[in-house]
Symmetry: C2
């Protein structure tokens, strides 16, 4: 069986060295997937901190020791997009969390939409797994920065608690007034993007969005799954912030 190597190990705190049991999943990854030997150097990072190299030493007594050489702090490489997503099935939310983190949105807020099922919130995903998925996405992207992530009770609270709100867009294949590509998003400005739950927006949510100055926008006439719509639209909007487009954050 083939594995794809992790790009980066993210630690929660900057340390000079650490020791893992060989049974630790991270040690298993170092051994079985990266096939490291004593003396190998592996990419590590610290959440909101530096990237660096970890020097691997298999002790022969059931542990692996890693000593670090840290670089300067890794610049914030998140794009100034706040993403609001209507609570959907856990398997859908998992894909959204990992991929939104890999794409580097600044913020990911799930809200209980009128068409969300109450059972969605009871999933074990919302205990701790969501945090691991955020880290997994950032490790994949080779970044030390995680989106702020929370789960709130309704669309209104999600909008109120979002960091960004300059350009307000909501995806809607049915009642969009224009396509996402017709919306002008000035460089350097941030975007608040709302995506409905799997069963779509209710009429009262659409009215609320319009009241709150959101432009209902489509991405063509094809009906996309929530996770596909999130990745396609964040990919589209992120282009404003890629190098070469004059974004101050680069």
């Amino acid at each position: 069986m083939a594995f794809v190597p992790l790009n980066l190990f993210l630690l929660k705190q900057e340390v000079a060295s650490l020791e893992w049991s060989v049974d630790d999943p991270r040690a298993i990854h170092l051994k079985k997937v990266l096939r490291t030997e004593t003396g190998d150097r592996v990419d590590f990072g610290v959440v909101d901190g530096p990237r660096g190299k970890g020097l691997v030493k298999w002790t022969g007594s059931g542990t692996v020791q890693i000593s670090f050489e840290w670089n300067g702090p890794h610049p914030n490489d998140l794009v100034p997009i706040s993403l609001l997503v209507g609570l959907s099935r856990p398997q859908t939310c998992r894909k959204v969390i990992e991929q939104a983190s890999a794409l580097g949105v600044s913020e990911l807020i799930f809200f209980r939409a009128e068409k969300s099922q109450p059972s969605y919130e009871k999933s074990s995903l919302w205990d701790e797994e969501w945090q691991r998925l955020l880290i997994k996405g950032a490790e994949q992207a080779f970044s030390c920065h995680l989106p702020r992530c929370e789960k709130v009770n309704c669309l209104e609270t999600a909008i109120q608690s979002s960091l960004f709100s300059t350009t307000r867009l909501a995806l809607d294949v049915y009642e969009a007034s224009q396509s996402l590509s017709e919306v002008t998003i000035p460089n350097n400005e941030n975007t608040l993007l709302a995506v409905g739950p799997e069963r779509g927006w209710s009429q009262s949510e659409r009215e609320f969005l319009r009241d709150q100055k959101f432009t209902l926008s489509h991405m063509g006439q094809r009906v996309l799954r929530v996770e596909t719509a999130v990745v396609a639209s964040v990919g589209y909007l992120s282009a404003n912030y890629w190098p070469g487009r004059g974004w101050a954050g680069e």
Copy 2:
């Protein structure tokens, strides 16, 4: 457990009526997920043919009969993008096939890249499952049109067999000369987009791509999974063809 309704049932051929055993997975979907009763009308489509409504009749003798009212042919709603993807793990290719079909690329060609593993081609995915995933993506998107899909031996063959080739782009986070958003893609023109396998392009593939007039392009500095890169880049490029952008195909 909650299910998300299928948007459309796609049939391979236009028929006036049909009868399914109640054990048929499609009959089970009609019963358990859509909760249809006799007299209900459900969305159906024919591959490369019309959309219409199917009138449901549960016979009470172990079958469901469906009689159709077909509309005129459903216009081709695929975007003029040929997508080449380096063969990756089957679970990755599954996500690519279903989502590329939902996004509506015209063509999806998997090629054996230098860093593809030989085992990838032996997966049962390549027997028949890939066709079901194409249909699933189109059903999700509420479309009757499927991408042409094939699997070829190398990048060169993939390029030679692709329908479209006017603008030639290859994703590469490491040696890109510009970002995807700096590439000018005139409306009405088609695009050939190449995405490497999970382990990335080899140096000889990069040289071949440059020889073949591909522009190596990035989507920011974050390292994305193949399926995330595909959806984000196809989402980005599709914007050229969304309504309101003057594409003749609309």
